[in-house]
Subunit: 339 residues, 3 copies
């Protein structure tokens, strides 16, 4: 597929600087781009590549334009423009609708004829798959699951019974949505499972990463609001609620009944304890442990940066004496005051 | 399904306070319960809802009874009573026994006729599935696996060759039980796999969460004793042994050859190094790193609570100087002693 | 299978000490070995078992030989020798080549007739499976995937479109190779997916653990070089590159665009931020957070060892005041200097 820079600019409602008739055929990284390539610049660190890039055009901000020696598309948000240009340059493969003969679909499920049910998929009774969905190979939709219009399950996804997935969601391989929550009552020294009667409700345009797990609620539902983006290997406990447009990086865990606000940014490997609340617009940097509610927007951290092993060992040994050190410091101050 | 509070109390061997003839049809959260609902109270924090709940009855302790304005079931363990009441109110769907025509079952496997083998399941030779099991869609039981009576594999579960799973276990979607242990011998700069000849043995009433992994042993077996409860995304290395009734929260990792006692409670995202021992009745709070054996029951912690990013940054910078600070403190003390 | 110690030694090119005619039938742990067993000793801690072992022979170093009372194979690398002896004693089950009738294989895929495609596998068009591969039950190879000679996918493995897997790799159950990278552009308060156009390229003799995830690159490819060993539940972001023979323990996460050198050893639950570089021959101990590039080989740590909960609480409370403590310490020093 080839498109002139002018046509691309028209679609994206942006201005061209330079030769509007140059043909764009693909995208490429700024430092490796050749003829026909569209590149983009979002990080000032790479501005130096503007001098040498072989790209036919570069998407950049007005600030970076003076440094550009090739053609340019000026955008207030180059990453977003790039994302949309890619979609124009690589039209999506149209879905081969229909139910693969190897799929096992209950006659009591309702599958829109415009959707694809892939090979080896299993669909139980009372499942609804709306229009334009793609249920990838090896997925399993349990009784009563509901998949909204235009949603794609890449492959081998588990959707538990009665789970509701919104429209235009994207769920990566191995995700498990709607396993039982981890709730037990003590019975002497043993633990007895508390039946998990809630389900999971997922809003529109939510993305869920590979092998991420979202447990169903105990009595009420676990809720992931619209536009939430979850990376791989994330653990979401029962009755958690995540507000709209919050983004969570990989290997993070959120324990049961915690409520997270809208538009939060949560780094990788963060651990958030159960039964707390986090306000809207909170940023939590990677590797933090959040043990209390956060009521004020802002940036919070909790990851200890690593060090040379020998120095680290000495410092962690001292950490075990830190409270005692603080007491000693206080005694010295008292002594000096008296002098 | 409806049942009088009196009948419910009789089944549960508890006493009714209030109207024994009220009809219970379902369970609901205390603050949202309406007519026909049974609620429960375990957390004093929610005692205030007793004044306004619309529940037809509440399960609570004798201590909370004076605050209750509706009917009550008094129990020494409300969570356990609730759990059992739910089972009475929601009779389990009886299993449609038999092998789904899409399943691939070796003629050399032994499947009890009372068990269900779901759609797209694969069962290799020499597998035994005892009575009353439910092997959910897309699961795979490799050669020689053994599944004890009444055990349920929800869906897409992997059971490696020769793995033994006990009775009345519950294994959530995507769990991988019996992958190869992570054992290598150095060969110059490369690593050569050491064959993993052991297997995994899982006791009765064990629960295993979604996408949790338990590796097979190197020479001897990895052992999960009866009643152990494992949450989602947990990593259990080869030759680990976990004692009876120990409970482990999500995203925790236990490295190879570590032995954990009985009745331990291990929080989420805990990391336990290999080749150590942890005594019975040890509690480890979330996010701890356990690097040495623990011989004494008690509570152990290791998670650093997060803070405002700016203050956190300053404090972690100082942490790099902590050993030096301790030395300076010592010098000051010596100086003052001399004075 | 039985073999004399002499024959075993000949195959392994090692010397026998003691009775060369003794028959070896299996391997066993040093402390539990009986007649016919071959054991091995790599850890001085277990040297005491040499006095009492019932093994017919023990693999050990020349240093440990004087303490051995049974027959011995002396090796400079007992673990490697043991690994190879096991392979001699337990000949691999020969693969039943061919495509299982329940598998769904595109007529446009190219499957070498010496390979096995297991039950319920799905293979899309333009996939290539080279000679001697074993694609285990429930796996899915998307369009254009390429599996090198002798590679084994144990079961339920996801290989995304156009992913290249090298020769003699071993991929454990549930691994997801080639899901979409986690890349989004902001669009007002929402996030819009940036199409992930790269793929994943995996070298020869790579091993990937259960439920581990490796995301495809955004524009260029994610690269795992030859001989890399990845444990279970590891998260590898888009555009990461891991150098040859690097080994990574379980539950570790490596964020996008980070480059890791060759021959590194990375412990469990390590978190490595995105866009940094780690040199060759770097060791990172378990639970470290690596937030900056590491340019020098060596050992780096970042895991805080846990403590009794009460002391831990006191010390972490003081940690919040550490920067202030440092200032107070400095003031005291100034005061004393003046005196």
């Amino acid at each position: 597929m080839a498109i002139t820079l002018e046509d691309l600019a028209k679609h994206l409602e942006l201005s061209v600087f330079g030769d509007a008739w140059v043909e764009i055929t693909h995208v490429a990284p700024l430092d490796k781009a050749r003829d026909g390539a569209l590149a983009f610049l979002t990080n000032r660190h790479y501005r130096r590549y503007l001098a040498t890039t072989g790209a036919s055009a570069v998407i950049l901000t007005a600030d970076d334009l003076p440094f550009c020696r090739t053609n340019a598309l000026v955008s207030p948000n180059p990453a977003l423009t790039y994302s949309r240009a890619v979609r124009l340059l690589t039209p999506e493969v149209s879905l081969a609708a229909g139910i693969h003969p190897s799929a096992v679909v209950s006659p009591l499920a309702k599958i829109d004829p415009s959707s694809r049910i892939g090979a080896q998929v299993v669909v139980d009774e009372a499942v609804v798959v709306e229009a334009g969905c793609d249920v990838g190979p090896g997925s399993y939709l349990a009784r009563g699951a509901w998949i909204g219009e235009g949603t794609r399950l890449v492959a081998r996804v588990f959707i538990g019974h009665d789970v509701k997935v919104g429209r235009n969601c994207l769920i990566q391989p191995g995700a498990a949505i709607g396993g039982d929550g981890f709730g037990f009552a003590r019975d002497q020294q043993a633990w007895e499972r508390i039946p998990q009667l809630g389900t999971v409700r997922i809003g529109d345009r939510v993305e869920i990463g590979s092998n991420t797990c979202i447990d169903r609620g105990a009595l009420e539902d676990t809720i992931i609001e619209e536009g939430v983006k979850l990376d791989n290997l994330i653990q979401i406990g029962h009755n958690v609620r995540i507000g709209a447009h919050t983004i969570v990086a990989g290997s993070t865990g959120i324990a049961g009944s915690t409520k997270i606000g809208a538009c939060c940014q949560i780094g990788g490997m963060v651990g958030i304890v159960g039964h707390i609340e986090i306000a809207d617009h909170v940023t939590i940097t990677g590797r933090s442990m959040v043990a209390r509610s956060i009521h004020t927007p802002g940036i919070y951290s909790g990851g200890m940066p690593s060090d040379h092993a020998a120095r680290w060992r000495r410092n962690t040994a001292r950490f075990r004496q830190l409270d005692e050190m603080a007491d000693r410091l206080h005694i010295i101050e008292k002594t000096l005051e008296k002098d």
